[in-house]
Amino acid sequence: MAYIAVNSAGDFVRLDINASGSFANANAAMAQTANVMTVPALQDVTVNATPGLFRWKQLDALSEYVVTTPSTNSVALTIVLDDTTFFTGANSTPGLFTITNNKTLTYFRLYWKGSDSGDRYVEGEGYLTALAPTVTPDAPVWTTPLTIEVVGNFVTGVK
């Protein structure tokens, strides 16, 4: 057994996105490295892969029955805003604000622990939502939640 600890530099969580156009899949989008942007300063990341459920009860059974319905998949995170990734972007991938504003389909890849050869990731495509930048006098640096609402399935892989 091995815990997935991400507390050392080589084991950091990493989120790459590409919103420069249409691709066959996220793997193809990530291969176009010039337009791939790494989202820095992640504060927390939550991967939601939740199958939907339909439950019903019958008079001739002591317990509920259940069948699955299509999954709701998303990646929720909180980031500290960085001028380049929030406004400028990387080559043909615009900044996060523009991607959200334009509702651009975005391909993503999230590395669980490090991004070297052999490291695991989950990838897919989706829309950026839930952007809500905030700043206060006690925490005078902009931060924002961000959710990638995934279109279709997650795809897991190893670099």
Binding site: V6, A9, F12, V13, R14, L15, P40, A41, L42, Q43, D44, V45, V80, P137, A139, P140, V141, T143
Partner: protein, 130 residues
């Protein structure tokens, strides 16, 4: 320039002509007695205490670091016959916090204490930046 240097420069100008002088020396003890008690009507600024703390921890670095600087200042006057402009000095020292730029928290407070015939003003500056 350091925060202490900026404060010294400003206070030297601000208190010129008053009965309080500003010293560039640190408020060390001399002969078992603090310098500000030995040399009354002289304002001394101590060296900076600097602390780097983590404002936001991030999963993939770099973390957002907050830098807090604390500086203490002292001035002792004759408790029986304090200078007429001592309250002007207190106001000037407190307002001098505003000359330090690029900090989102600029605070200064004063505590007075009396020992025998000496009245000591102890100022505490606090500056915070990212």
């Amino acid at each position: 320039m350091s925060i202490r240097t900026d404060l010294l420069t400003h206070l030297t100008q601000e208190l010129a002509g008053s009965s309080i002088r500003v010293s560039t020396e640190l408020p060390y003890d001399s002969g078992g007695k603090p310098l500000h008690e030995k040399n009354m009507k002289v304002l001394y600024l101590a060296d900076s205490d600097i602390r780097h703390t983590e404002l936001f921890n991030t999963l993939n670095g770099p973390d957002v670091i907050q830098i807090e600087t604390n500086i203490q200042a002292y001035c002792t006057v004759d408790a029986k016959n304090p200078p007429a402009d001592v309250s002007d000095m207190v106001t000037a020292v407190i307002l001098s916090k505003n000359v330090i730029l690029n900090h989102h928290i600029m605070e200064c407070g004063v505590i007075t204490s009396q020992t025998e015939d000496r009245l000591t003003y102890s100022f505490q500056y606090r500056f915070v930046t990212i």
